[in-house]
Amino acid sequence: MERSHAVAAEKVSKTFILHNLRSRIPALRDVSFALPFGECLAVSGPSGAGKSTLLRCLYGNCLASSGSILVSHLGGILDVALASPREILALRERTVSYVSQFLRVIPRVSALEIVSAPLAKSGLAPGEAREKAAALLARLNIPSRLFALPPMTFSGGERQRVNIARGLVREAPIILLDEPTASLDRANRRIAVDLIVEAKGRGAAVVGIFHDREVQEALADHVLELPAVPCAEG
């Protein structure tokens, strides 16, 4: 992997083996790409092509069946495909941030706490973390009266904006986005795009799935087209 690269995937394959159904479901075959810092790779392809699976492999949520996923981490290189659970935890804490399609949190935790948690974890003073989190939530048009409430009570769009805020607040070197703007209206989509552009501007590498064409065109420097996956093997 070159020094300027944030992520380099080499021949990543993933087959889900469902023991109880006696089936093997191929999801990714020999996917390779290399992405420099400050640039965005859009992962594209038909539904079921393995776009989310690829993102999940990069995040260590899914175990690659073969291949390597090299990530620039704390001045060294970590192969996510071989990393131990604790290495992955450190990777997520320090290097890789992930905005999923859905927000999954402990029921009673407030929006402000959810967004400031990654900052507090990285050592920022609690007051400062909350201030920064509040500013970002406000920028994403979350009314301040909602800050103290748990997002379980929010609308889908509000919840997704909390999710985006949580993923972007920490200025991670590598950001993974799984349809981050899917449930946002036009104005908020615009704001989310601006935030991601700013993240790129400060050097973040972004790998994203964008179902919205406009969003993809505004953000992507490269497009990785995944082919439709071959049928399930018996």
């Binding site: 023991h19 175990l63 659970p85 935890l89 450190a90 402990i106």
Partner: protein, 259 residues
């Protein structure tokens, strides 16, 4: 990572008569880490937890605990008196039935103050103040301080038991189904409390649960048990979202709704 585990176990086995309950389980628990242990009832989760906490001696294998003063202790080889002192100070154990972890006929305040007093606190006024603080932390009304746990509801007892265990700022707690039998709203409260304490005070915990959602939200790593063996372990969301073993796949696909 260079960080040392608070607790590590190697080759733990335990049988009840001819029935093996825990078979060759090894694990490590790191500072401020929550390790979830999931599996069906009868899979050996509680037996494992008792061995890890020093409550039950294994037939074979060893549990090492890194004490606050720095020495590495073989938990089942140190003198009984030392083990008991640890159990009252640095370690905590939250029983599935709060009645097992509380003195039902002593006031709530007395229950909470017992551990701080045992670990050297001399002043009853201070102990009472500490008890009140903890009552507030677990969201029990201050005016119930002098009531006995037998007058408490199940959910209140569960929170009182947590307060009692946490009052000495233990380094590791062992939680046996801490949310079982609680109302959903109380469950969330208890989960939130444990998460907060771990993040804030660097508390480590082993969480035994059959609630995969609770395990997902709270634990960093997960150990899946079946018939006394650890059949799979790894990062919590990876084990739940991309389980490798047939049994884990069955367990994850058997739950209603999404965990």
């Amino acid at each position: 990572m260079t960080e040392e585990p608070v607790l590590s176990a190697a080759g733990l086995s335990k049988s009840y008569g001819a029935v093996p309950a825990v078979r060759d389980v090894s694990l490590e628990l790191y500072p401020s880490e929550i390790l979830g242990v999931v599996g069906e009832s009868g899979s050996g989760k509680t037996t494992l937890l008792k061995i890890l906490a020093g409550h039950l001696a294994p037939d074979s294998g060893e549990v090492f605990y890194r004490a606050a003063e720095g020495s590495l202790l073989s938990l089942h080889r140190i003198p009984e008196s030392r083990r008991r002192r640890l159990a009252r100070t640095e370690l905590g154990f939250v029983f599935q039935n709060p009645e097992d972890g509380l003195r039902m006929k002593i006031s709530a305040g007395g229950n909470i103050a017992e551990r701080p007093l045992a670990s050297g606190l001399r002043s009853f006024a201070e102990a009472r103040a500490a008890a009140l603080r903890w009552l507030e932390k677990v969201e029990l009304p201050a005016d119930r301080l002098d009531d006995r746990p037998e007058e408490y509801s199940g959910g209140m007892r569960a929170r009182l038991q947590l307060a009692k265990n946490l009052a000495t700022s233990p380094r590791a707690v062992f939680l046996d189904e801490p949310t079982a039998g609680l109302d959903v709203s109380v469950q969330a409260r208890v989960l939130d409390l444990i998460r907060g304490l771990s993040a804030e005070f660097g508390l480590s915990a082993v969480l035994v649960t059959h609630d995969l959602m609770a395990a997902r939200l709270l634990s960093h790593r997960l150990l899946v048990m079946k018939d006394g063996r650890a059949v799979e372990s790894g990062l919590t969301d990876q084990v739940l979202d991309d389980p490798q073993e047939p049994y884990t796949q069955l367990l994850v696909s058997s739950i209603l709704g999404e965990a």
